[in-house]
């Protein structure tokens, strides 16, 4: 019942394309809103982020995601709402988060996607460790939107 949302390593564009294609049979959909998180090569001191390594508290993440989905389906007129988050190492330039909201009309898809991203950043038990080009690393701290 509680869906797996995790993918080992980066999320590739072909996977995103397949997800989009699978919605062409749902002809009640008029709008898709997709959010993709991409690992940024941030400069920190005199080194640069080369990758982020993600870990999670899996059982809690599933039940939290289940609750967020229920809440957003209740609030918005949605057809589908999918989330995929990477675990393990994702290099700078690669995709680590894929949120995909579909609805008959654009407002619901757009709002649900944005709210899901906020919930993920604030309430999903996932931690990123930034790995730098010089071999060092530190725990990532999310900035407010």
């Amino acid at each position: 019942m509680k869906k797996n949302i995790f993918v080992q390593g980066p999320i590739d564009a072909a996977f995103i394309a397949r997800s989009i294609e699978q919605h062409s049979s749902k002809t009640g959909i008029g709008a898709h809103n997709i959010f993709l998180g991409q690992v940024r090569a941030d400069q920190v001191g005199d080194t640069t982020v080369s990758a982020i390594e993600y870990t999670t508290y899996e059982e809690m993440a599933y039940s939290r995601m289940h609750a967020i989905r229920e809440q957003l389906f209740e609030k918005h007129n949605l057809t589908c709402l999918h989330v995929y988050h990477s675990l393990g190492k994702v290099a700078a330039g690669e995709i680590c988060l894929f949120v995909f909201a579909s609805a008959p009309h654009r407002q619901a898809a757009t709002d649900a996607c944005g709210e899901m991203v906020e919930e993920i950043k604030n309430t999903l038990p996932v931690w990123g460790r930034e790995i730098f080009c010089n071999g060092e690393s530190q725990w990532k701290v999310n900035q407010p939107a």
Binding site: Y57, M60, L97, V126, W139, V141, N142
Partner: protein, 76 residues
């Protein structure tokens, strides 16, 4: 009264990822036990989940509970 403790992110560097506590029967007692054992925790931001639910005030711990120590999330 056995409590399973799991820790994540920055917190796990202090406590390790998994440990057991025999005595504490409330989250308050458990936190006291943790802070005695790992003084560095007292300076760190984290919240506590009991059986995957975040607790915002102290509660009794059911026997066999899984307690998680969660530093600020940084997913996405």
């Amino acid at each position: 009264m056995a409590i399973e403790i799991v820790a994540f992110g920055k917190i796990s560097e202090v406590t390790g990822t998994g440990l057991q506590a025999e005595g504490p029967d409330t989250t308050e007692a458990l936190q006291q036990w943790l802070h005695n054992r790992y003084p560095a925790l007292q300076q760190m931001r984290y919240c506590i989940a009991v059986n995957q639910q975040i607790v915002n005030s102290h509660i009794p711990l059911p026997d066999g509970a899984q307690v998680a120590l969660l530093p600020p999330f940084s997913g996405g």
